[in-house]
């Protein structure tokens, strides 16, 4: 194997690719809109948004690697955010931090238990339960907008948001690399039957993955409400659109999994997506065009990275 081939299989190659992609997109928009795009201050703003989506993306990664899917992320964010507001009014920062984490974990636990007990598609289970979580968010707010009091908004800006997000990223990376949960997540995703034969309690670890997803989405909710300062309860699956921004980072994580740095890929991936969105905003492109180009670029990057084996069956 040549040195270059060896390098291409190393984790450094994955990191280099992420760095190059980031630079290319930044340079592209910077050239087209030098005044309105990409100075240091703006980059910090893009990162701010990328950070909280990436935290949710870390949670989704546990589920997507195994094979199932979670369509209740948006509803979880809404419910956890309004509970964070409610609890912060009673318990201050403790309420703001703990309530959404607990609510996220409970949402994940319910998702996981219903999924393994009913043995039906995770898509159907989590979409169905989203309606329940949305309804709960309405009960929690009486249908009114929940506004986070100004004295509890430390996690909406630097350095609070960065500290919380970094803690979440380290936790995610640690679980993946230094606990059985990480190993079993990949093992179940690779071949559930073989994993079962090796003594892995597949159902248990699927529930654990949903719980972890819920937990990280709970943390995302803290960052979301702190940054956005208000949240309206949702109904009729209006929360669905919140599923996709964290998912985009997860795609990057999955694509760069083989280089051994999924968490970094999720964070950088979200940042690249933000560069794209903000780049188009800077250019004054209509939202529809932004969405088309962002979708195409996302697919292109993931395809380029994965390089699917010819003839392989992809579902």
């Amino acid at each position: 194997m040549s040195k270059f081939q060896e390098f291409k299989q190393s984790h450094w190659y994955g990191l280099a690719m992420l760095a190059v992609l980031t630079f290319v997109f930044w340079a592209f928009f910077k050239m087209l809109a030098p005044q309105t795009f990409g100075d240091l201050g703006k980059l910090q703003t893009y990162l701010k948004t990328a950070l909280y989506y990436a935290v949710g993306g870390c949670g989704l990664y546990f589920i997507c690697v195994m094979g199932p899917f979670d369509m209740s992320v948006g509803a979880n964010i809404v419910l956890s955010s309004v509970l964070a507001v409610n609890m912060s009014e009673r318990f201050g920062y403790a309420g703001l931090l703990i309530a959404p984490m607990i609510s996220g974990v409970l949402v994940g636990l319910l998702n996981g238990l219903v999924y393994i007990k009913l043995r039906i598609s995770s898509l159907i289970v989590t979409a169905g339960l989203s309606l329940v979580y949305e309804a709960l968010s309405i009960f929690a707010t009486n249908g009114k907008e929940a506004i986070l009091a100004p004295q509890y908004r430390a996690f909406g800006d630097y350095p609070g948001n960065l500290v919380l997000a970094l803690a979440a990223f380290f936790l995610c990376g640690f679980i993946l690399k230094y606990t059985k949960i990480g190993t079993y997540t990949y093992a179940i995703g690779s071949n559930e039957v073989v994993a079962k034969n090796m003594g892995v309690n597949v159902d248990k670890y699927k529930v654990v993955a949903f719980v972890l997803c819920g937990f990280f989405v709970g943390v995302e909710a803290i960052l979301t409400i702190s940054y956005g300062t208000s949240m309206t309860s949702a109904s009729n699956l209006a929360s669905m659109s919140r599923n996709f921004p964290p998912l985009m980072g997860t795609f990057f994580g999955l694509a760069f999994k083989k280089y051994g740095h999924p968490v970094i890929a999720i964070v950088v991936g979200e940042f690249i997506i933000q560069l794209l969105f903000q780049g188009f905003v800077a250019l004054g492109a209509p939202t529809t065009v932004q969405n088309i180009v962002t979708g195409v670029v996302l697919l292109a990057i993931v395809t380029m990275t994965i390089k699917p084996v010819k003839a392989v069956v992809v579902k």
Binding site: Y178, T183, G189, S190, M198, G199, V200, K257, K310
Partner: protein, 498 residues
Amino acid sequence: MSKVLLHAEKIDKNFGVTHAIDHVTLDFYEGEVHALIGENGSGKSTFTSCLTGIYHKDTGTFSLNGKEVNAKDQVDGNYQGVAIIVQEIGTLSGLTVAENIFLGKEDEFTSFKVKHTKSMNKKAQELLDAYGFSYIKATDLIDKYNFEDRKLIEIVKATHFKPQVLVVDETTTALGEKGRKELFKVMKQTKDDGRCVIFISHDLDEVLEQSDNISVLRDGVLIDTVKADNVNTDDLKKLMVGREMSNNYYRTDYDEKVSDEVVLKGEHLTVPGEIEDFDIELHKGEIIGIGGLSECGMHEVGKALFGASYDREGSVTLADGTKINDIKTAIDHSIAYASKDRDNESLVINDTIQDNICLPSLEDIKKNHILHAKDEKAFAEKYAKQMSTKMEGVHQFMSALSGGNKQKVVLARWIGKDSDIIILDSPTRGIDVKVKADIYQMMDSMRKRGKSIIMISEEISELLGMADRIIIMKDGRQNGEFKRSANLKDTDLIAKMV
């Protein structure tokens, strides 16, 4: 006589109405390689699966050194002193080599719920080095390694903790020369240490060579246990099948003239990294054998001719001038293909026998554009029975069938389709002697009816016994061609393979 190491007492296992193992009582001794043989579906793998925790027995007990073994799963089995190396791939993509070796045993490297990845990697690398596989790196993702290397990693995984009983379940069919050598080395070490190997293989010569004692199962019942020194392959075949088997189940004709009519012509076939500039002409009623070492590219030839190869260059042309560039055209023009990778490429494993047999023939079965379940069932039953498939009925799921019966379904499908050109890749891989004889008979009968067959095989005796012409491949290229002859020897073919 050595001491009994493992005692199996009245082991019984049912799958639905199938009585897979019928109260088998058997002893395995210290320092012994004990072979289990029998036809496909005779219960060999089910028996060892019950021992190692892959299946759970219905009744009976296994005792290892007098202590009951009741494995919940493979890892639990490992802790109780038994391990298994399976035929198909048993490692998991997405995990490192070290994670695969210690999958399910992470607790050995965990304290306060934290896994010490570094010490796990170090230990795995020490094991790989000790086995002589230093080129395999414990920290690498296992996806980086080929099938054979992954099998070697599995050997390390199953044996590093020195299990008292090591089951080797038809593993050799999946291995090349190097892998077999390593496996036999491990088996010998296990035996020399006073432990025991339960060896399952359809290769009776290999069984006689490697084993001390041989137990024969038939329809889940233990027929006999014999000493390897006291029997030959014919004795074993007789015990397996329950009647005298003809000594030679291959073709006996050597001077039949093959038709001049060319039915399929492949020219300058190239698949990057697999085959290069390969030419072939198949005549009506001819059996062409393609052989070589496992990685010589021969398996890709079957795909290339069937239009299933990607990036194929060159042409495949039928007698009427039709170009075969895709699978649909191939099937529409009466070409059939049975892949070596039966479970993944030939069968819809989670579907019924009926659906698998009917799949390519639905156009022929339907009446007035409508498929009638009754017709499909009748069609499937006709061809499944013609191939003597051992089944509960055509409604049975493929996943419940043994390897040999799965192969019968694959063949039944193409007989049902009445294809004129049949490409069979490793048609008797992992198949017992009786089914082998059935398959050879079927091929001979098809040939006589003017069907043309390309048989890709790693078994030299099969090539010599069945083919009118043998093409030997090496490094993706044609390296020799032999006409059928009684004087042709295996050494002639081997000389062109290596």
